[in-house]
Subunit: 203 residues, 2 copies
């Protein structure tokens, strides 16, 4: 297997890298230089018609995209330690928390990134008002997350999981684009320090 | 178990209803009247702090939200017929396709709904320009989906799955809000007719 990847602050490829580090799995990475629009090339579109990384290529040439789909597939091949939960209820919790982060926080950060950031200004029309409203909603989502983390070590099942990987890569992406965790969100900061102290966070 | 649900055109509760119909599972539904903001009441927020339906309540009082998390949980309790795939690769394909629909199409339709529709005008500021741009992107996503469906009966694994449920509820939501399938997208129309002919589609 090999992974088409861009080693940048984008949250989706980093999810897979952290997941691999936690599992102790390694296989070749193929660098896809997104600044040169390599992910939109005719050749890359045959791997993923949406022109996105990461993409996992199996040894027989089959292609799999979407970061969570890739990690779920690897989880079935390498079940230990379980990062998607160890029983049906735990697995449901990991899924619920991952989705809450993606739809409640990441979607807003993505809107800020696309509509307000100087790095994306060349990609098309920016809807600045919508982007700024999304910034406020993203901060509200961070406040919600802080409340949920009160008294909790990790997001789901009292153990580190894919949900924490999704949240860590999302929160760090927020910091990268200028939506930082407010200082008073102490539960969020404590959780962030906890998951960031794991060696996998460097991935 | 019981399901807190709103029987309206919203795609997320309908996903669960179709899933249950396909599985032949039934348990009580608790109607949550969203027009009366019952999903934002203090009492409901104890069930889901995000104030969203559906929510599954277990017999011991545990709560699970997020439609896909609910269906995944039920899939583990009722594995036949498999709607999330029958082996690791199939499961990865169902996940990939579900996510492609959610992030590529549903996110755009949601932006149209929230930012342009008369029914949502009272909920807060509408960013009309962004909403109209999202409409164009939603139509492009429908065109992409049409291309992908060429030569295919179903989205993933050549059999009906959760990915089709996600796509059906999303496409039908688009029609409800005025983003209809262009007539020339014949593969999409054929797929839509196929999945709509199943009794579960009435759910």
């Amino acid at each position: 297997m090999k992974l088409y990847n861009e080693h940048n602050p984008a949250p989706n490829p980093r999810r897979v890298r952290i997941y691999l580090a936690e599992k102790g799995i390694s296989f070749p990475f193929v660098h896809v230089p997104m600044r040169e629009k390599a992910h939109k090339s005719t050749e890359f579109l045959t791997k993923n018609s949406l022109g996105q990384v990461p993409v996992l290529e199996l040894d027989d040439g089959r292609m799999l995209s979407e970061s969570i789909a890739i990690c779920r597939y690897l989880e079935e091949l390498h079940p230990q330690p379980p990062l998607f939960g160890a029983d049906p209820w735990q697995r449901a919790q990991v899924e619920m928390w991952s989705r809450r982060i993606e739809f409640g926080l990441m979607s807003r950060l993505g809107a800020v990134w696309i509509n307000t950031h100087k790095y994306t200004a060349h990609l098309g029309t920016q809807f600045k008002d919508f982007g700024e409203a999304s910034r406020l909603r993203a901060v509200k989502a961070l406040q919600w997350l802080n409340d949920e983390l009160q008294g909790r070590e990790y997001l789901a099942n009292e153990r580190y999981s894919m949900a924490d990987i999704v949240a860590l890569t999302t929160v760090d992406f927020g910091t990268f684009i200028g939506v930082e965790m407010p200082a008073e969100l102490t539960h969020l900061h404590a959780w962030h320090a906890r998951v960031s102290s794991r060696p996998s966070a460097a991935a």
